[in-house]
Symmetry: C2
């Protein structure tokens, strides 16, 4: 009976696991050094939790199930609803701002394709309790801090930043009624993925007035925050949103990542809950999906039954990132290879008990050790050691039988040294 | 709209996450030093995979779901079937013995109770490709290596070891037909959990012959491998199984963990796929469920469509372990507290840009740093730093404005030092 894995999922054999661990360890290290604390929630939640605010695309991609009491559950497709639930539960006990990160495993029932899997890992950063551009900038800086740490430069990636608040203010200024905004966002979000004519046709459907449509297109093609004011003639709501956005760009500049950041009004984001600054980081070649995306979602905690508390965050999946790092040659060079510190070799079969004793002592002193299960000759054991990328072979032979001495062979240089067994073990413990 | 978490799942707030990380990091570290390599599989598999060999109890507790094509899937309740599938897929490329570990998140739809949750983490160790007692002993040693490393001693825990092969041989010797074994195992497995009379009544149902039942009870109460031979009068199959078991005890003795290990024929294990040595580790007080359990499952890979390859393994959940460590006072003392290395304090508001620059540089040099979002006074910022358990405060004030010097305050001792800002930053990078 042979059963295949489910399509769109991954098996992590040890070399794949080493890559996954290297990526996730990097996410964790950079989160911690930027002052974020780690949290996590359950792999499934009540289905209704994702129906509140996640947006239609995510609801359609839920893996839903029932518990034995017939309650509807779903495997988490994102962790932000869990974050909102958890923070609301302890809202009075948590000092603010809450700077939290997580690396959840998420599942979405989408069609598997390049950079999109049914099961993936996603780095999440969130700052809850601060409404200023400082918090948005910290999220973007931390994200860039990671991407720089793994070797990506401003020649490789660009953080494209805009603001839902700005977009709303500009659209209001142009004369679009508030109740038309949500469907319009969905169209604007698709601009970078569509041929210009297709996009303009879709836009005309939402905005029949040609003058309004032209102004929207004009706004969408701006590449500097400064030029917005000209377009909207000093509308106060617009100026307000521009000021917020300028704070974000200023802090990012002072933090030293200005060259990575650009204003791009084409960034709208699909999720329904964004309210302010939004951003995506893309490969400059533009061949991949967004590496990550995020933004401000000031109403989400209130929508989940809590008080109104401003919040901003980011999510980065592992699939697109891994493709990019692979393409740039940054993966193989940096992911650590498997290594065993000591391979204990039995050159005299009568010393088998000592092999077990010494191996166990090396391990319990905190160092890695292996030995061969096959009662093979010396050269076979050395070959097995090399196959496991052992740094040193610790050989138990005549010298041990006679004088309790071990031959320690450096597998890199080939050099051998004779050492007293107990001294060797004692040196490992210290 | 307030939605609760699903019963039997856990929210990991940062202090809970610190405990979980400490446990899992310990599992990983000990696995690696014992020569195991990490792997993982998907969170769900085809439902049928768990119907092959997991046993009735697990099948009843599956969280099942369907993908959009209507295929039946299940969230993994254990990872051994995934391991078997993965190894079979690459059986010719993997050097043996295969020593693998994993720390999967697992879900079982059981009634939540002390030490049993619907979602938990389980440390898995497996050695595939070696049929000798050495491999069983390595699995048990590695498990004990972890439990000793976190501070449990032979006064706290006991590894109870037996053998399915031995049990089968003894039962055959007593005259139980082979087709009666599976239901009988299920009864024998319950012995430690039942009052003697209840157990004897259940046994009598399976084994109506009083003499046979008496012999089974006699075997089940043995506490030394040596006495088995007397009971069964040198039956060859029994002697064979005893020899295997003796190898395991011998290797464990040479590895230095003899005092933790005891022969206990009451260990049968619930899972359907065990074929040889089986073991469980229990708290000596006997107040908790088994901390872990495992054994040899030589037929599983063949049952999953691969070749016949011997295998042995172990699984340890986090829930019982955490309760035991908590009770023994080993948790709070060892789980690291949150700490921030540097809290950058703004004593002169005109230096805000420098606050951002210095914070960003500390972080990118690999050290953790935070700052206050609130434009509060010096004492408020120091209080916020203390709340985050900052080791040092880096104060930007008059000294910086005049001479580019930082006041570095050690939050433990209260001592302050004046240092050149660029030298300070350079020292962090080196």
């Amino acid at each position: 009976m042979k059963i295949p894995p489910v399509k769109g999922t991954r098996d992590f054999y040890p070399p794949d696991m080493a890559r996954r661990n290297w990526i996730i360890d990097g996410w964790k290290k950079v989160s911690l050094r930027n002052g974020f604390e780690e949290y996590d929630g359950p792999i499934f939640e009540y289905l209704s939790m994702y129906q509140i605010k996640s947006g239609q695309e995510i609801v359609e991609q839920l893996f839903s199930l029932q518990d034995r009491g017939g309650r509807d559950l779903a495997i988490r497709p994102e962790i932000t609803p869990t974050l909102a639930r958890m923070i609301n539960q302890q809202i009075n006990a948590l000092p603010r701002p809450i700077k939290w990160f997580s690396v959840p495993r998420l599942c979405r029932a989408e069609k598997p394709q390049k950079g999109r899997l049914r099961e993936f890992f996603q780095w999440n950063l969130d700052i809850v309790g601060d409404g200023s551009g400082q918090a948005d900038a910290e999220v973007i800086f931390t994200t860039l801090d990671y991407l720089r740490a793994v070797g990506l430069t401003s020649r490789d990636i660009r953080a494209k930043i805009s603001s839902r608040k700005l977009l709303a203010a500009v659209l209001a200024n142009i004369g679009i009624p508030a109740d038309k905004l949500d469907p319009l966002y969905a169209v604007l979000d698709k601009k970078p993925k569509l041929p210009p004519e297709t996009f303009q046709a879709m836009l005309a459907e939402q905005v029949p007035d040609a003058d309004q449509a032209r102004k929207i297109l004009e706004f969408m093609s701006l590449n500097s925050v400064e030029r917005i004011a000209e377009l909207t003639q000093a509308d106060e709501a617009v100026l307000n949103a521009v000021a917020d956005l300028k704070t974000v760009f200023d802090v990012l500049k002072w933090m030293g990542v200005e060259e990575y950041c650009v204003f791009d009004p084409g960034i709208v984001r699909g999720l329904a809950y964004y309210t302010g600054v939004v951003f995506e980081i893309h490969d400059i070649a533009g061949e991949l999906r967004a590496i990550c995306g995020g933004g401000r979602y000031d109403n989400l905690l209130r929508d989940f039954g809590g008080p109104w508390i401003p919040a901003t965050g980011m999510g980065m999946g592992d699939a697109v990132l891994e493709i990019l790092l692979q393409e740039k040659g940054l993966l193989e060079a940096q992911v650590p290879k498997r290594q065993i510190e000591h391979f204990v070799v039995l050159a005299d079969p009568s010393l088998l008990r000592e092999l077990y004793r010494i191996t166990a002592q090396i391990r319990s002193s905190g160092h890695s050790a292996n030995f061969s299960y096959k009662a093979g000759g010396l050269s076979k054991q050395l070959k097995e050691a090399a196959g496991q990328n052992a740094q040193k072979c610790v050989i138990l032979g005549q010298e041990y039988a006679e004088k309790k001495q071990l031959v320690v062979k450096d597998m890199g240089t080939g050099e051998q040294a004779l050492v007293d067994a107990e001294q060797f073990l004692a040196s490992l413990s210290s």
